[in-house]
């Protein structure tokens, strides 16, 4: 079955960590990416901060268009920061991999994937602006 490994944390906390702690977090991610890469296809996604998001709110009535609003609004609680998705034999194996990126600043949720499609990858590169 495919599992997702979802990462929740308070946005911005990572940047406040001392260098050694940041390195430890990154070492965990590198180890996980290496392990997943050796096993086959996987997907990893790091999201930009919540402040870069725009929300499409459900339409008030079936006839009206959905409302596009800035935000989410300020919330000091944890935010969804990114995720991994890969094929695992069972929950134990997924958990074993999730442990690699565990740290005091993040809550990691392992959730089975009901359906997944598409293949993509991206490195930071030149992008266009209107």
């Amino acid at each position: 079955m495919m599992y997702s490994v979802l990462i929740y944390s308070e946005a911005g906390v990572f940047d406040q960590l001392p260098k050694e702690a940041q390195d430890r977090v990154m070492a965990g991610h590198q180890a996980l990416q290496k392990a997943l890469g050796a096993r086959g296809d996987f997907m990893s996604v790091k999201l930009m901060p919540p402040s870069s998001a725009v929300t499409v709110e459900p339409a008030a009535t079936p006839e009206s268009p959905p409302l596009v609003v800035d935000g989410p609004f300020a919330d000091t609680k944890e935010a969804f920061l990114g995720f991994y998705a890969a094929e695992f034999a069972n929950l134990d194996e997924a958990l074993e991999h999730a442990r690699m990126i565990s740290s005091p600043i993040a809550r990691i949720e392992v959730r089975p994937i009901a359906w997944a499609g598409g293949v993509m990858s991206s490195e930071p590169q030149n992008v266009g602006v209107a």
Partner: protein
């Protein structure tokens, strides 16, 4: 373990200090109470586990700690009268959070208090770094290149000044809120510039000012996600900051945009800035930070300096000048005109700025460059000489002196 916890405290600090300042009407007391709560968290959390809502926990404990301190002073009665209901000792296990909208106004008020007009600009920045960002006095002293003792005295004086000139603690009117946001945004912008201009100091140390300014811009955008100028301000700072790895060569010489290795620019920061600018542009308004961010975007997205779209930049400066008709904006506009129409035209256009910008060293270095370009080496040399008398930073001085040598060779 405490390093991990402290990283979290730093992110909670602005909202916590702001809310506590509203209750206690005293920044020192708010800072002390929050410090008490952090000390208790470091002692308790490893044993009890991190609470579900760390912010609510810290705020509740800080409020209780502050109350304890108040009980020992004469300030007690006024504060108790004002907040009788709220100031009952709170149960840590059932913390109640203040309304997020109230906290939003609290943070804005706290930043606005820091940029009180009775304070010198540098003291405003220092105060915001101390109170809101939570930097230590030695850290701030280093950023402003003064002795810790001096900075300590300046901060004490600044706090005394603002205590004597209070800002109302009622919920602000929409107009007041907009005005405060404008003032505070300007302070954040100037904090970044203070770090970026490396006035006479070690660039690496000054970077902390840029990083803190970006954090504050992020905070403002979190608090006001619907304000396109807040997204634009953060975009502007990120575009600029993305260039810092390429800004100097190995010997610490400043490099111009043309000379920088664009491969060193921070693409992740540029991408985030682009997405924020796109968000801001959805508003359909055209406002100063947004135009400046759009100009920065043209530079950031040009694959090479030669491929820079100067026509677009020229049009953007024209739009900015319509909103902010200042001599400095006009000067930047002329720099773009020079790229399109040549140095001769630019020199003519600059004549009108000679008086208002007489004390602005960039006016003279730019004029010198155009004079040199049009074969007027002697006049160029003189213009560089004028620039040298206007307190350039170390790296700038090096470049000016190098250009003066080049002028002499062309005499």
């Amino acid at each position: 373990m405490s390093a991990w916890l402290e990283a979290g405290f730093v992110t909670h600090r602005p909202r916590a200090i702001a809310a506590l300042t509203r209750v206690f009407r005293n920044i020192d007391l708010a800072e002390e109470a929050f410090a008490d709560a952090c000390v208790k968290a470091v002692a308790d959390w490893p044993r009890t586990g991190t609470p579900t809502d760390p912010f609510a926990w810290l705020l509740t404990v800080a409020r209780n700690a502050g109350l304890d301190r108040v009980r020992k002073t004469t300030r007690r009665s006024a504060i108790l009268d004002r907040n009788a209901e709220w100031l009952k000792m709170q149960d840590i296990d059932e913390p109640d959070l203040p309304d997020p909208n109230a906290v939003r106004d609290d943070v804005l008020r706290l930043l606005f208090i820091c940029c009180h007009p009775a304070l010198a600009r540098q003291d405003q920045l220092a105060l915001a770094l101390k109170v809101v960002a939570g930097l230590s006095v030695p850290e701030i002293a280093r950023a402003f290149l003064v002795k810790p003792k001096t900075m300590e005295q300046r901060l004490t004086r600044a706090k005394r000044t603002i205590a004597a000139n209070t800002v109302p603690f009622e919920t602000p009117s929409p107009q007041d809120r907009a005005r405060r946001l404008g003032e505070v945004s300007l302070m954040v912008y100037l904090m970044f510039n203070e770090g970026w201009s490396t006035s006479g100091g070690d660039a690496q140390i000054r970077l902390s000012l840029c990083n803190e300014a970006i954090r504050l811009a992020r905070l403002l955008l979190e608090l006001f996600p619907g304000m396109s100028e807040q997204a634009a301000l953060l975009a502007l700072l990120l575009f600029q900051h993305a260039r810092h790895p390429a800004r100097m060569d190995d010997r610490g010489t400043l490099l111009t945009l043309e000379q920088q290795d664009r491969g060193l620019w921070d693409r992740a920061a540029i991408n985030e800035a682009v997405s924020l600018l796109q968000k801001a542009e959805r508003s359909g308004q055209s406002a100063p930070y947004q135009i400046q961010a759009a100009i920065a975007a043209v530079h950031a997205l040009a694959p090479t300096a030669q491929q820079t779209d100067w026509h677009k930049i020229e049009a953007l400066y024209a739009a900015l000048y319509a909103l902010q008709p200042t001599p400095v904006v006009r000067l930047n506009w002329i720099a773009a005109i020079a790229k399109i129409q040549g140095a001769d035209v630019a020199l003519d256009e600059m004549a009108a700025l000679e008086e208002p910008l007489a004390g602005y060293r960039w006016f003279h270095t730019m004029r010198a460059a155009f004079l040199a370009e049009t074969g007027q080496a002697q006049a160029a040399h003189a213009a560089y000489e004028t620039a040298l008398t206007l307190a350039p930073t170390g790296p700038e001085r090096t470049i000016i002196q190098r250009n003066m040598v080049a002028c002499q060779e062309n005499l």
